[in-house]
Symmetry: D2
C-alpha cells in the first residue's frame, strides 16, 4: 500500500497541512502540492468535432504521480464551503482523461483506490463542511473509489487547528489504519 | 431592478445556457461568460505580511460588472457535483476582495442582492445536485444575499435540457418573477 | 400502472393534501391517510430470541394496501425538517417486514416501484427540506425503488400553498407523467 | 452544568446506548429512555378553533425532565437514515408546546441549551447519517440551541460499535468537554 496526498492549499504550512501531517506522519506518503503546478480549468470539448485538445500544462504530470498509489488523501482548505478552486480544477480535468485514448484504464485504475478527505475551515466545518463531504462521496462513487474516512477540522488563524482535539484524534486514527495496512 | 447572469460554462450554447435563457429572455440582463476572462485561482495571503497582492488578471473587471446589479443568476454546468472550477475560482477570489481596502463596501453591496442558481447536469441533478445548492445557500448566507430560487436541469448531449419539462417550467416561472419586478 | 398516495398529514385538507391533489387529480389513485390508522413505533427485536413479535395494530393492513401499486406518492407535511412522525413510524416498521417470513417478497415487491415525494413546509422548504429529500432517496435506494420526482411547497396558513406557483406547476407535471403512463 | 440524555432506542443496551455511555460515564447525567414512555404523534391543531387539545400521555412529563438541564444529548439509532420514530414523535410535539400557554418560556428555555447528537447505524453512517445531522442542526437552529458536537458510530450486531475506534474516541472527547464544564 502506498499513499499520495493531494494538497489543495495555496499557502504553505497552513492548517490543512498541519492536520494532514497528523494522518500521514511516519508513512511513505507522496505529497503533491497543487499550488506548485499549472493546472488549467477544463474546456468542455466532449461534443466538439475533434474531442478534447491537449492542454499545455502540468495536469497529466500530476495525474501520473497519483495513479500508482492505492490510497489517496484529498487535503484541502474549505473555501466557500467546498474544495479550493485549484483542487476543483484538477478534479474537473478528470472528465477529459475519461475520454483520453492514452488512458483507457483511467477509471478502472482509480476504481481500486481508497480515499480520505481532510479539510479545515473556519466557519463551523463540522456542519457547513458536510455538503463538501457529500460532493467528494459522489465523486468517489462515480469513479468507483471507496471513501474510507474524512476529517473536518476547525481553524482560521495560522496553527489554530492544533486546538481542535477531535480532529487531531480522528487524523491520528487514520494514521493507525494506514500504518497497519502498510505493515501488512 | 437589473440582472446579471454569471455563466460558468466552458462551452457556448450548452445546456446550461439554453436553460438559463428561458429565465432571462426578454429581460435586460447582462451576460457575463467567465470563460472569456482570465481569472486566477486565489492565493491565500490572509496571513502574509503585506496581505493580498494585486493579481494581473480580469477578476476585478468582472466583479465590477456584477456589482451594479441587484439580481445575480449563477448559471453553471454541474461538474463533479458542484459549480465549474472556473466559477469556483471566481467565487474564491471574493475572499480577497473582502480584505481589499479599495472595496470597503463589497460585503454590504452584495448583501442587498437576490440570487438564483441555474445548473444542468447529466447524473441525476435533482438529487446529486443538492449538495451544490446547499453550498450556494451557504455562500449567499455568508454574504447576506438571498437565494430566491434555483433550477436543476437534466442534460448531457447538446440541447438535451429542452426535454426536461419541469426544469423549463421552473425557469419560466423565474422569468415571470423577474419581469414583474422589472416592470414594477 | 396504479398509484397509491400515502398521506402523513395529521390535518384534513392541509397544504400537503392540496398540493398533492394537483399531482393525482383525475387519476385512479388510492389515498391512504395514515392518521386514520393505528401504527405503533417499531420495537427493535432484530436480535431478540424469538425475533419480531406480531403487533396488534393497523400496520400490515396499510402495507397490504400499498403493495399492489407500482407508483407510490409519499405526501407529508415537513415537521421539523423531515417527514411527520406518523409517516416515520410507518417506514420504520418496514425493518420488521423485511424479517417477516410471511412477506418473503417484500423487498423485491417494493424494488419495482416508482416513488414521488410531495412535501409542504413553512420554513424555506426549498432549502431546508433538502435533507429530507436526501433521506427519502436513501430509503428508496435501500429498497431498490426509483425516485421519479419530488415537489417542495411553501405553506403555513391553510391553503397558502396555492400561492406557490413553482410547486403547483411541478405537481401538475407529475400528473402529466402519471397520466401518460396510465394511458399507455 | 447538568446533562440530560434522551434515548430514542427501542432496545436496551444497544449500540447507541453503548456509544453514548462513553460520552457521559462518570457524569451526573439524567437518562431518559423514550421507549419507557407513551408519547403520541402530534395532531396538527394549529389552525383548529380551540387550538391544540391536551393529550393524555407522558409527553409533558418527559419534557419537564429535560427542561432543567443545560446540555442535551440526543442519542438515537439511525432508523431509515434519521432519528427513530419515537424520537421524532417527541420532537414533533414541541410544535404543540410552542403554542401552549402553560409554557410561555419554552423556546427561550431551550435556546440556552447546548446539544449533542450521538447516533449509530449499520449502513455507512459517516455518509448516510449526514442528512440526519443536518436535520438536527436545523431543529437546534430553530430553537436557538447550539450544536456542540456529534458522533456517528457504525454498528449493526449487538456491541459492534465497540470496534468503531474513531467513534469511541469522539465520544470520549465529548466526555472530557462535559467534565471540564461540570468541574468549572
Amino acid at each position: 500500500m502506498t499513499v499520495a496526498v493531494i494538497y489543495g492549499s495555496t499557502r504553505a504550512d497552513g492548517n490543512t497541512e498541519i492536520l494532514t501531517r497528523q494522518a500521514v506522519q511516519g508513512l511513505q506518503a507522496e505529497a503533491i502540492y497543487l499550488k506548485d503546478f499549472d493546472i488549467q480549468p477544463i474546456e468542455d470539448q466532449r461534443h466538439a468535432a475533434g474531442g478534447f485538445q491537449d492542454v499545455d500544462d502540468d495536469y497529466l504530470a500530476v495525474l501520473e504521480r497519483i495513479l500508482p498509489h492505492d490510497t489517496l488523501v484529498f487535503a484541502t482548505p474549505i473555501y466557500w464551503y467546498s474544495m479550493s478552486g485549484r483542487m476543483k480544477n484538477f478534479v474537473d480535468r478528470w472528465s477529459q482523461t475519461l475520454r483520453d485514448h492514452r488512458y483507457p484504464a483511467f477509471r478502472s485504475s482509480m476504481a481500486g483506490k481508497k480515499a480520505y478527505v481532510i479539510a479545515v475551515g473556519g466557519d463551523e466545518p463540522l456542519i457547513k463542511g458536510l455538503p463538501m463531504i457529500r460532493q467528494f462521496q459522489l465523486i468517489f462513487d462515480f469513479m468507483g473509489m471507496r471513501m474510507d474516512g474524512y476529517v473536518l477540522g476547525q481553524g482560521n488563524k495560522p496553527g489554530e487547528v492544533l486546538q481542535d482535539q477531535p480532529a487531531l484524534a480522528a487524523a491520528r486514527l487514520i494514521r493507525n489504519t494506514l500504518k497497519n495496512i502498510e505493515g501488512g
